[in-house]
Assembly symmetry: C2
Homo-oligomer: 249 residues x 2
DNA sequence: CGCGCTCTTGACGAACATCAAGCTCCGTGG
DNA sequence: CCACGGAGCTTGATGTTCGTCAAGAGCGCG
C-alpha cells in the first residue's frame, strides 16, 4: 500500500467513511479537516506513537495499519485499552486532556496523519457541527471502552476473545476494509492476550479451542470467521455500542 | 439535604467545581449552563434514570447522590462501567450517541438536573470553549473507563477494590465532598462487587481481608481509609488519569 | 412475630496464571 | 550450505484465585 504516494484526501478516506456511517459531512467540513491535517508520519511495528506522561501538541489519525493504547504495570504486565484501525484518531482526547495517561503503540507498520491542536481549536471555533462529530468519535471510543469493561468483568476468556474478533470484523467491514468474514490481523497471540487481559499461554489454549470448535481460523496473519452466528452467540455480541446508524448529530 | 429548596445555581455547584478544577469558567458560561438546565428530578435508590436502548432527549447531571452505568448480561450478571458523583453528567454522551447502549441506575436517593439536547446543541453553536469543557467531561469518563479496564485486566480483586476506594475518595475530596480520609458510601457490597467485576461472596472476603490488614473500615455506609499510602501502593493508584490540573482547554 | 435483605462462612470446583521445556520457523552470519 | 539464535507458538504440570452452592446469622420493617 504505497501510502507515500497518496494525497492527504486519499489518506483521509477511512476517516470520512467512519463519520459518514454515522452522519452527513459537508464538503466545507471535509475541506476544513483536510486543511487541519499537517504531516504524514510512518511508524514501524512496535514503535511508540505517544508515550504516557507526554503532552502532545498534535493529535494523530491512523490512515493505515493497526495501533493500540496500552499501559505497563509495575510488574511488567501490559494491558491494552483500545485497538485503532484506519480512520481512528489514536489520541484525539489529548487535545483537551493535555497529558497522556497511557501510551499508544504501533501494532503493525502504519501511516499516521497529524493534526496540530491549535488547528483543532480553530475548528471548534468555526465549525460547531464538525466539532460535534469529532466529539462523537471520542464518545465512540468511550463506548468501546465500556463494552470491553463489561467483557472483562463478566465474560470468560474465550468469550472475550470471540467478542474481540466480532468487533474487529464489524468495524473493519463497516469501513469497507474487510469482507467475506475474514480480515488481516498481523499481530502476535501475546498482543491479543494483552487486549483481552489474559496470559500468553492461556490465549494460546483459547485459540486452539476456538479452532477446534470451528469458530475461527487464524493463520499467517489472516483471521477467518468460520461460524459468525456461533461466534456472536458465544460472545453475546451486539453491535449497538458501535453506533453504526446514520442520523443528525 | 433539602435539595428541593435549593436554587439551580446551588445544585450546579459541584458541577462548576468539577470544571474549575481543570480550567477557568466565565460568568457568561456559567449563566449559559444554568439557562440550559431544565427540570430537577428526584430518584429513589434502585430506580433507573435511563434504560438501555432508549433515546433520551435530555442529558442528566447528578446534583446529589450516587448513580452508576451498568448492563445486565444474558445470565443475569451485572457489570457497572461507571460510578457518578455529584457534578457528573450520567449520560452527556447520549447527546451525540443518541441511543443508550447501557442503563443508568440510582445507587442512592439522588437529585438530578436535566438538560434538553436542543439546548446543548445551542451551547455548541454559541460557546466553543464551553463546548470543549463539556467534551472534556466525557473525555474524563473515558479516561476512568480505561483505568478500570487496566485494573480488570491486570489487577487482582483486592487491588481493584483498593483502587476503587482510592478513586472515589480522590474524586470526592477534590469536589470538597469528602475529607479526613473518609466518605459516605451507602451502597451494598454486591454493588461494589458489580463495579470491580467479582462475585458478591468474594467481595465480602476481600473486604474482610482489607479490614484485617487495617487498610479500611466500612460500617454503616461510611468508608474510612486507615492507611492511605498502603492503599495507594496496593492499588498502584496514580491520580494522573483524573486530570486534576487547572489549565486552558 | 415473621419475612426479606444483607452479610458471613465453609466446602468444592472451574478458570486461569505461572513455570518450565520443547517446538517450528525464519533470518543472519560464518 | 549449514550452524546458530531469537521470536513466536505449543504443551504439560502445578498452584492460586475466584466462582458457585449451600447454609446460617443479624437486622430492619411491616
Amino acid at each position: 500500500m504505497a501510502s507515500e504516494t497518496k494525497s492527504v484526501e486519499e489518506l483521509l478516506q477511512p476517516f470520512f467513511r467512519k463519520i459518514l456511517l454515522r452522519d452527513e459531512l459537508g464538503i466545507e467540513e471535509q475541506r476544513a479537516i483536510a486543511a487541519a491535517a499537517d504531516q504524514r508520519v510512518r511508524f514501524a511495528a512496535g514503535d511508540d506513537l505517544v508515550v504516557e506522561g507526554s503532552r502532545p501538541v498534535h493529535s494523530m489519525l491512523v490512515a493505515d495499519g493497526f495501533t493500540c493504547r496500552y499501559r505497563l504495570l509495575s510488574g511488567g504486565e501490559r494491558q491494552l485499552t483500545a485497538i485503532h484501525l484506519p480512520g481512528d484518531f489514536v489520541d484525539l482526547h489529548s487535545f483537551l486532556l493535555k497529558q497522556m495517561d497511557h501510551s499508544v503503540g504501533a501494532m503493525t507498520e502504519c501511516t499516521i496523519i497529524t493534526f496540530p491542536h491549535e488547528r483543532l481549536v480553530r475548528v471548534t471555533e468555526r465549525f460547531p457541527h464538525l466539532t460535534r462529530l469529532l466529539w462523537l468519535l471520542t464518545l465512540l471510543d468511550g463506548s468501546i471502552h465500556r463494552e470491553w469493561l463489561i467483557g472483562m468483568g463478566r465474560l470468560s476468556a474465550p468469550q472475550r476473545t470471540a467478542h474481540l474478533f466480532c468487533e474487529l470484523y464489524t468495524r473493519l467491514s463497516a469501513l469497507g476494509l474487510a469482507s467475506d468474514l475474514q480480515f488481516s490481523l498481523p499481530v502476535t497471540q501475546a498482543e491479543v492476550a494483552d487486549a483481552v487481559g489474559i496470559s500468553a499461554v492461556h490465549i494460546n489454549r483459547v485459540l486452539q479451542e476456538m479452532r477446534q470448535r470451528s469458530l475461527i481460523s487464524w493463520d499467517g496473519g489472516l483471521v477467518r470467521i468460520l461460524d459468525w452466528d456461533a461466534l456472536v452467540e458465544a460472545a453475546e455480541f451486539d453491535d449497538l455500542y458501535l453506533h453504526l446508524i446514520q442520523e443528525p448529530r
